[in-house]
Symmetry: C2
Subunit: 298 residues, 2 copies
């Protein structure tokens, strides 16, 4: 029987080792690198990189081929958290139970560490030391850069954060909230699975199914986040709960109610699992991740 | 006889038209796009994109092939200005005679507009709609992405900004100041000329010469900036003068004196021109730009 926890452990170890390798290759030190590493190594779940690697495996490819994309995605995710936590944005002091970057260092350093992590992601994705650009793979890496940059920028994550800020004092419809999340978190999660599938040499029909899977779990992840902000355990979460209500943020529980939100999350996971139906046992990690997303306590 | 002003005018028009095209292709609107465009279209000199296109021409290539890189460089330059101007950094209200992004919009929007411009640069550099990835050019674009991301990130511009902030209350040696500028502005200027030369299919010896050229004019540009901050005309510059001394910033004039700084800038330009010696008339724009850098009033 497939065991997710040992799978996640082994993938996270690979991801962390590879991230460390990229920083060693940098052979730089100083406050900027310290701040970048501080946030990058702060014990994140590594959801996006694991999804990227699992996407490669699901189509029959080697997870290792997707590692540069996996690590780049985590760098982009981490940069977005650093900037979201800034005083001018969400003004959060704690993240994963640790001081946020601007609290640990200072605001200017946090802005620059975020900028540098975002830039480093594209450096990794184009570095011949880490990616194979000889055997006709250069175009594939450009495709990955294209998808990831699209998902991360003004057509994706950054626009999602803009809407998130604008939404703080406005109540949203469920459609607007869903659109916000599709941009803020969904796009990058889809890009993660897509990149893995492409780097695993998946067929276009496989890639299409996996994109459906990713869209569903991305949204379910966010619904679950909102649910945890209502009834989660701050000790497990490493951050406060009830903060959404305090900030009068539109959330699934606030729009649909708590029970309907849970049902909605379950439906999304079922749809995600259905999208995996055509795949063989190699998609088992993606299946297990879908179930984990809804069961998680943190 | 070659006339720089009409050359610059025609290149700037091409760059602005292409930037507009990229935004039209985006088919998005809203506050984020408005802020991105506001700063990108605020009347910058377009030095980096022009250098990129002129680099392509100098090696006998077509300037148009370098346009996506040229525009990406301007996006990265603009993002860096937006973030540098933030209250947590240099806290500047005016840039090119206009309100800075966070003054015109707000701080969160400015941070995100910067993030989105940086991300958009890599989106442009990997978009099959704008770049030719079919005829074996994919690896070339990856090389360009690699060089630009390296120049922009923790091994280049961002690290330079970190050192610039750290230097505000410390006096620097000339060597440390030169290293700071090589990182903060030199790296991206070198990447601009390099990218143009590579996209113009330059030979490696040509590219090497052009990198020397770029390193010299990049530094000269900064020396001249420091000189203008001492004796420039605020009306022409569109920003205040004397601000470096007020902030006790280490500058070339403060370290070497004003006259020695002028001599140093002239030497650098001579070295840049020497690096162009092996090139034919098609390097005339680069020659003229070198001379312009030292003669400019703004």
């Amino acid at each position: 029987m497939f065991e997710l926890s040992s799978y996640l452990e082994s993938k996270r170890a690979q991801i962390n080792t590879t991230l460390e390798k990229y920083f060693r290759a940098a052979s730089r030190s100083g406050r900027l690198i310290d701040a970048m590493r501080y946030s990058l190594m702060a014990g994140g779940k590594r959801l996006r990189p694991v999804l990227c690697m699992a996407g490669a495996e699901a189509v029959g490819g080697r997870a290792e081929n997707a590692l540069p994309a996996a690590c780049a995605l985590e760098m982009i995710h981490t940069y977005s958290l650093i900037h979201d936590d800034l005083p001018a944005m969400d003004n959060d002091d704690l993240r994963r139970g640790k001081s946020t970057c601007h609290v640990q260092f200072d605001e200017a350093t946090a802005i620059l560490a975020g900028d540098a992590l975002l830039t480093m992601a594209f450096q990794i994705l184009s570095d011949a030391e880490f990616i194979d650009i000889d055997s006709g793979q250069a175009a594939t890496w450009l495709t990955v850069i294209q998808r990831i940059s699209r998902a991360a920028g003004y057509q994706g994550m950054v626009e999602g954060q803009m809407r998130d800020i604008a939404a703080e004092n406005n109540s949203l419809s469920q459609a607007a909230l869903q659109q916000l999340h599709a941009l803020k978190t969904g796009a990058l999660i889809e890009a993660a699975v897509y990149s893995g599938a492409v780097l695993g040499n998946g067929r276009s029909d496989q890639i299409g199914q996996l994109e459906t899977y990713a869209a569903c779990i991305g949204l379910a992840f966010q619904v679950k986040d909102d649910i945890l902000n209502v009834e989660g355990d701050p000790a497990l979460l490493g951050k406060g709960v009830g903060t959404d209500e305090l900030r009068r943020k539109s959330t699934y529980p606030s729009i649909m109610g708590l029970e309907a939100s849970k049902a909605f999350a379950r439906q999304l996971i079922e749809k995600a699992l259905l999208a995996l139906a055509p795949f063989d046992h190699r998609s088992e990690p993606l299946r297990a991740i879908a179930n984990y997303i809804i069961a998680r306590k943190r």
